[in-house]
Amino acid sequence: MQLFRPIAHCALLGLLSGCAFLHRYQLQSVDGRIQQSSTRRFEFLVSQTGIDLVEGAKWVSVIARDARTQNNANDAATIIALFQMGPRTGNPVYSTRFADELGQKLHHMCKNNEITGLTFTRETNKYPVVSGELVKVAGYCLSSAAPAKRKP
């Protein structure tokens, strides 16, 4: 019975780990010309490592053998949770500047042509304690040779 609790915790964490969460999805205007073969699709992502300290402290309380360490870890988890209370998307990161370079990267993907069908996806790839906080961008670079109108 004593072993059951940590095993159940580990099994649950194992089941919930390594999962991809979709937080936001946004699609910009779409030009019908994206179906033409001359149109190039591009995709890139920017990311930052997220850290769930509350989960880390809970792991410590599960792994620790003596009751005092377990209690201390649980207290630490509670205090961290209180400080991180409120609405948020994904795990906390130490800097959100990773998303600042999006505009520049978009410019490099399609330097002189029109971009259409832009999609922005905010995702989290969750692992035990850490996570990948991602912003995925995909779109289509219309070729300058692509005709504005199709022949009837």
């Binding site: 919930l16 936001r24 699609l27 910009q28 205007s29 779409v30 030009d31 289509y140």
Partner: protein, 103 residues
């Protein structure tokens, strides 16, 4: 009485499905709001297990296929998180609605 009521209330709470609106976005609405086009993608999650979000990829192609000679503008995108049964059965539903405007 309380012993019978509590399991019933618990069952009702667990059995009731919920939908959460995760995100919504709108692009500029065109003056010429002609043909309405829409696309939808859905993914069912068993035990919340989801290893990628590729199901939303190329949703724009669905819209473009419905408007090959124009441009889809005024797109409202909506991402819903659906809970059919806590932990066991969940789903993502993404919808995009817009107007096909002639170029």
């Amino acid at each position: 009485m309380t012993r019978k009521l509590f399991p019933l209330l618990l069952l009702a709470a667990l059995g009731a499905s919920c939908t959460h609106l995760a995100s919504v976005s709108v692009t500029s609405i065109p003056a010429n709001r002609g043909q309405h086009v829409s696309a939808e993608r859905y993914k069912f999650l068993f035990l919340l297990l989801n290893f990628n979000n590729d199901f939303v990829q190329e949703m724009e192609r669905d819209l473009a296929a419905k408007c090959p000679k124009g441009k889809v503008e005024g797109i409202v995108t909506k991402l819903e998180n659906i809970t059919y049964f806590p932990i066991i059965a969940h789903a993502y539903n993404v919808t995009a609605d817009g107007y096909c405007v002639a170029r």
